[in-house]
Assembly symmetry: C2
């Protein structure tokens, strides 16, 4: 069963890891947000790609939700001594990834090939693809003006209200052959419980990508989304406040509305805590699955993934066997 997962950082990585547990090697492709990439200390840093790669490699830092386990901070300490800003923490092992990637970008290699090379070197059994090879940079407008995403997210700890979001460069980005191929071959497509605006949003902003998902759906491929907002609160990060300040309801219903408005999904998976929203979500014309969606550990990730795979299968069965080609 070939599954494509659209993912941001931590939430996306958790679902991807659950799916990877359930699937055979090579069956999972994760298309990852690169809108929060940044250049710092001459390094190209791709936080979401790395979180997904490290998580699927089994070397993610379980406590901090980003970076590598068994990490040290020798480079960063010395950079601080040299007077550099170190608000964006980079561990030593993590820096090796950035050096590897930056050198290859400098040589003209594609981010896609570089990500596949890192995945191979780390022994990741899934395909981890950037949403595009061209640079896309998410920027947010706050009352203090436009900010680079990580400036808002890490340096200012998501404190300012977000008034507007832009995916700079998205209009010039293109769906890669690898992303197109994965979507073409997919048996199901899953939107991870990442921030719908700044994690899934940039992916959907790559011209042609929504059309590819829609085409897959038209062929009978199940498209599911999992809410990252549970009980009106983002499981992690500022998604709830951001939804609110941008005029969306900060709830699973708000997330479902957003994806339904794009005609993107067949089914929406929401937490048992949000069971009361099921009716309103069904009224959007999409199916619902109510389950425990909080992925605190490895086995809960596998459970959520299993529920989503089962739900995908139901969609396909409902669509009829003829759709299978």
């Amino acid at each position: 069963m070939r599954i494509v997962c659209l993912a941001g950082g931590v939430g996306g990585a958790k679902l991807a890891e659950g799916l990877q547990q359930q699937l055979e090697p090579g069956e999972l492709t994760v298309i990852v947000n690169t809108g929060d990439d940044l250049e710092l200390h001459s390094l190209l840093i791709c936080p979401d790609l790395d979180t997904v790669l490290y998580t699927l490699a089994g070397i993610a830092n379980p406590a901090q939700g980003w970076g590598v386990d068994d990490e040290s901070w020798r480079v960063m300490d010395q950079l601080a001594l040299l007077g550099e800003d170190t608000w964006f923490r980079l561990g030593d092992r993590d820096i090796a990834t950035h050096l590897f990637r930056t050198e290859r970008i400098r040589r003209g290699e594609r981010l896609t090939d570089i990500s596949l090379a890192i995945a191979a070197a780390l022994g990741v059994p899934s395909n981890v693809l950037p949403m595009a090879d061209e640079p896309v940079r998410t920027r947010v407008r706050t009352d203090g003006g436009w900010l680079d995403f990580q400036d808002y997210f890490v340096r200012l700890r998501q404190l300012p209200e977000v008034r507007e979001v832009r995916y700079e460069g998205a209009d010039k980005s293109t769906v890669t052959e690898e992303v197109r191929g994965a979507l073409n071959d997919a048996d199901a497509i899953m939107l991870a419980p990442s921030n719908p605006i700044v994690s899934i949003g940039p992916i959907l902003a790559v011209p042609g990508l929504v059309a590819e998902v829609a085409a897959a759906r038209a062929r009978g491929v199940a498209v599911l989304a999992l809410s990252g907002i549970v009980g009106g609160k983002a499981l992690r990060g500022p998604a709830d406040r951001m939804m609110s300040s941008l005029g969306h309801e900060p709830s699973a219903l708000g997330v479902a509305r957003r994806y339904a408005a794009l005609g993107l999904i067949d089914k929406f998976v929401l937490d048992t805590q949000d069971a009361a929203l099921e009716g309103a979500i069904s009224a959007l014309g999409i199916g619902t699955v109510v389950t425990n969606t909080v992925m605190a550990d490895s086995s809960s990730r596998a459970n959520v993934a299993m529920r989503m795979l089962a739900a995908a299968l139901e969609v396909r069965t409902a669509a009829g066997p003829g759709q299978d080609g």
Copy 2:
């Protein structure tokens, strides 16, 4: 007393450190070879500049002769795991220097300003200047063809015979205002016991630099050189073999001849082991100082520096007080 020292890596750093011990803060300016700089893992690495900076900051690794003390290798180990070549060893603290520098080069800053900033951050009381801001790359021709310098020096451990040496880019490099200013203000100029071909050679290849030294000499400024070849053997590195394979005598006399041919020096400092060469060196029309030149520890560095400062003073005294302006 304002002293300018022309230096390569380890030998240059030792003399510079001895001089720094003898001088007031700010009195020493070290003009450092950048011909052995390299780009690796997307980093601009300046081995000689760093060796001088670390040595003058008191943080050099005493055992290996390059890099920082209290060093770790976390980034390098992870780069190896990612399949990268790691023949050029970069410690974690050292990498911070390269990130700091590379980022500033990327922003368009001059290598001179960057080096001064690193020196300031590390508390170096001397001025450490690259020989030029433009990239110069020393390449060596071996029987296997032309090699980048570090490819020959580190990867191939200086095993191949060197048939020819080029300082690529030197013709387009220029004497910086800082280098010119230091040479203009110098009371004495000292050529460190670094490899005359691949350490001092690139510095002298910067167009106009030899003329600046000659102009200083014409004003009565003492110019001294210290032999890095003692008893026919290079104290470190392949200088003896390189002199030989390029048709020069692999001895202190060979080194003296080279500098004398450029009309560059007043006095040549040679080791007591080479006392027998004193006559032949005097015959080149330059003065000699015979002393113990091996700088094994901090106090021997100070002693050599003191001897050289005394010898410089003698040259000035001989030139007459009128030269002082």
